[in-house]
């Protein structure tokens, strides 16, 4: 589904991804782990098409199509969803209106008709119950004044509503209590199926206790340095990233970050 080959990208002339390759098949859940500054968020943003990041080499194919040549909204319509690490506030725009506009924009790009307001409400009601979002947040402005946990739930709500083929979760688990973490995990599990894939970007393996990944990758210095099955996550938790990268467990900085 997603084939990234030798990807080089950076920002303001500084190279951050230095030849990253990974291959995600439909039906799989991949975890990308790594210390701060290893390029995790850059990977998420480059795949979603964020402007300031420049791709300087390599390619990324999404279902065989050139992902890097598409506008962000085209990537979304193709089925790529990014759950933001820092969801953005949009004052004055009611959350519900935003969700419906987004859903209809996606459908419009796919040549589908708009959902009727009644049908939309029905769908939304299902998903809101599923993620346990406080209903008053639907009437409020998008993410404005939401707590950290509410913002993440709102991201999971959008993921559930838009039903993407490939969802990238950019540290969606950071700063969440155990209940919110379960909401994220349940959101992934509810959508998990043979047609979909997930890339879970995370700093520590807590979320992976609830969502069992098929593959775990260690990102370091802008490339994948190690890939293995789910057992790798536990190993990283025990030994830190230094071990994974170099065979020695002396990277205190990374370890401090990893066990935070």
């Amino acid at each position: 589904m997603l084939a990234v080959q030798n990807l080089h990208a950076g920002i303001s002339g500084k190279e951050i991804l230095r030849g990253l390759s990974m291959d995600v098949q439909a039906g799989q859940v991949h975890a990308v782990m790594g210390p701060n500054g290893s390029g995790k968020s850059t990977l998420a943003h480059v795949l979603a098409g964020r402007g300031p990041y420049e791709v300087t080499g390599g390619q990324a194919l999404f279902d065989g199509a050139d992902l890097l040549g598409m506008a962000p909204e085209e990537r979304a319509a193709a089925g790529l969803f990014l759950a933001f690490q820092h969801p953005v506030e949009i004052p004055g725009v009611a959350n519900m209106y935003f969700l419906r506009t987004a859903l209809n924009s996606l459908r419009h790009q796919r040549g589908q008709s708009e959902v009727s307001p009644g049908e939309f409400l029905r769908q939304l009601e299902d998903k809101v119950s599923q993620v346990g979002l406080d209903r008053t947040l639907l009437q409020r402005s998008v993410n404005e004044g939401f707590s950290g946990g509410e913002k993440k739930r709102n991201e999971v709500l959008q993921m559930a509503l838009f039903e993407p083929r490939l969802a990238i979760l950019d540290e969606t688990d950071s700063g969440l209590d155990i209940d919110a973490l379960r909401v994220v995990a349940d959101g992934v599990e509810a959508l998990r199926g043979p047609q979909r894939a997930f890339v879970i970007i995370t700093h520590h393996q807590r979320l992976l206790e609830y969502v069992r990944p098929d593959r775990v990758h260690v990102l370091s210095g802008g490339r994948i340095v190690r890939s293995a099955g789910p057992e790798l996550a536990s190993e990283l938790e025990a030994n830190g990233y230094g071990e994974a990268r170099t065979g020695r467990s002396t990277d205190e900085l990374a370890r401090a970050g990893a066990s935070r």
Binding site: A71, E73, A76, F81, I90, A102, F162
Partner: protein
């Protein structure tokens, strides 16, 4: 359900240009170019005015000759040649003063149909009474009979002078005197038409009233004058809309609006101003120099101004309220957009005289392209204004690196118990917000429009529903091409 406004039509977003820029071929009666006592006498004569009104005009003209154009505003434009303007232009009517739609020149009706304001349909379906003003004169007023049943008088200014001089004379110039300012004084001398509305004691006007202003003839100026009087306990909501053809030269529009609210009366005045703004290079467009003021004369009266200003090359207007009556309330809600090379210097004046008077100001200024937007507001609380309160919120939104937003609040408080609060913010449509929307599938243009509409929401919700939709759509169209 939340009061979310309907979706914006993407196809409509794609229609790039100012869509009201056509000119209609209407047989027009024109006064000679330039301004003189003769021209003023001619205008007055054409309108069969009583002598007192002619004398009032002439007093204004003589006063105007000694005045000079104001220069304090933060807008820049070439000199206006007042001798090169046609001060009176009227579509020739087959019959004088059409009493029904059937008697209106078909070309004029076709023009309004093209503007999306089918006069016939307005009459039949929407239940909004419309006074249609083309260039210098009112061509038709709908629903007059039904309004008359409720005791409401709604007609063109000229007609009111003929039929209700006793109501016009005491109030004309009572809020905006003919010596008020350069443009208001010019208007007092040459004003040709506009709307008059009178709502008697205790009457709640049974429908929305609206005036649609259209400049059609080239080389002319439009100088309309509107007067609304609400007697004790009366309530009225009034809306005006404006468009003009696309022309390479600038046309002058200098209007005056006076509102009078007696005890317990309430007047809501909404404007959706979409005069031709000029092209992307800043050629052409309307110079919109307007004086609007209301007087809360009676205790507990209320005047509320809501304006959405998306058109004009230059906008210069400060709709204000003189809060005389005890406990009277003044409100000003404004969205002003300056895109391309548009310049706006707009705001309000709230003058608190009575005890316990209150005013609220919400101003949303949007600048895009090379647009320059200035908020200029005066909150004045006199020695008599015990316990007066004002709250001002003034937000500016910038789109792109070449536009500007400026804020000039003036606050004068003379009574120790009076309170004035001022909040101001300036923000940009951020890359974060746009990317977030786009990641959800929303195009950059639609996302910008959504973010801007969100920014304006506090003001839009003050508009009557159908006009809120219109305002939203206008804003989206006006923002096209300002992104990226």
């Amino acid at each position: 359900m939340t009061s979310t406004l309907p979706d914006l039509d993407i196809a409509e977003l794609a229609s790039r240009e100012y869509q009201y820029g056509f000119a209609s071929d209407i047989d027009t009666d024109l006064a000679p170019k330039g301004l003189s006592e003769e021209v003023i006498r001619l205008i007055s004569q054409k309108k069969e005015e009583p002598n007192w009104l002619l004398q009032w005009r002439l007093s204004a003209y003589r006063h105007w000759l000694a005045m000079s154009e104001p220069t304090w505003q933060n807008v820049h434009y070439g000199p206006v040649d007042y001798a090169d303007i046609i001060y009176y232009a009227a579509p020739k009517s087959k019959k004088k003063g059409p009493s029904s739609l059937d008697e209106v020149d078909p070309e004029v009706r076709a023009m309004f149909d093209k503007l999306g304001i089918s006069l016939a349909e307005q009459e039949r379906l929407s239940g909004v009474a419309v006074d249609a003003v083309v260039d210098s004169v009112s061509v038709v007023t709908t629903f007059q009979r039904k309004l008359a049943e409720a005791g409401v008088i709604f007609c063109s200014f000229s007609e009111a002078v003929r039929t209700h001089p006793d109501l016009v004379r005491p109030y004309l110039g009572s809020v905006v005197p003919y010596r008020d300012n350069f443009f208001a004084t010019l208007n007092s001398a040459v004003f040709s038409d506009g709307s008059f509305c009178y709502v008697p004691k205790g009457v709640r006007c049974p429908m929305e009233l609206s005036t649609y202003f259209r400049i059609n003839a080239a080389g002319t100026g439009q100088f309309e004058r509107t007067l609304i009087v609400a007697e004790e306990g009366a309530t009225v909501s009034y809306l005006e809309g404006c468009t003009a053809p696309r022309r390479d030269d600038n046309q002058l529009h200098a209007a005056v609006v006076e509102l009078v609210a007696l005890e317990g009366a309430s007047i809501k005045y909404s404007t959706v101003q979409n005069w031709y703004p000029g092209d992307a290079q800043g050629r052409g467009g309307i110079y919109n120099f307007v004086t609007k003021r209301g007087r809360c004369a009676g205790a507990g009266s209320k005047i509320s101004w809501t304006q959405v200003e998306t058109g004009s090359a230059i906008t210069w207007k400060y709709p204000g309220v003189v809060l005389q009556g005890e406990g009277s309330v003044g409100e000003f809600y404004s969205v002003a957009l300056s895109a391309n090379h548009q310049q706006a210097d707009t705001g309000t004046k709230m003058v608190h005289i009575g005890k316990g008077t209150k005013s609220t100001i919400v101003s949303k200024a949007i600048s895009a392209g090379h647009g320059q937007n200035t908020y200029r507001g005066l909150v004045k609380m006199l020695r008599s204004a015990e316990g007066a309160r004002n709250h001002t919120r003034c937000d500016s939104l910038l789109i792109g690196p070449q536009c500007g937003a400026h804020t000039f609040p003036y606050i004068e408080v003379k009574h120790p118990s009076a309170q004035a609060e001022h909040e101001a913010t300036t923000s940009k449509v951020s890359e974060d917000q746009l990317f977030y929307c786009r990641q959800r599938g929303i195009s950059e243009e639609e996302a910008t429009s959504m973010i801007v509409n969100g920014f304006c929401r506090e003001v839009f919700r003050e508009l009557p529903m159908e006009f809120a939709v219109e305002a939203q759509r206008l804003l989206s169209v006006s923002l096209e091409g300002t992104v990226g």
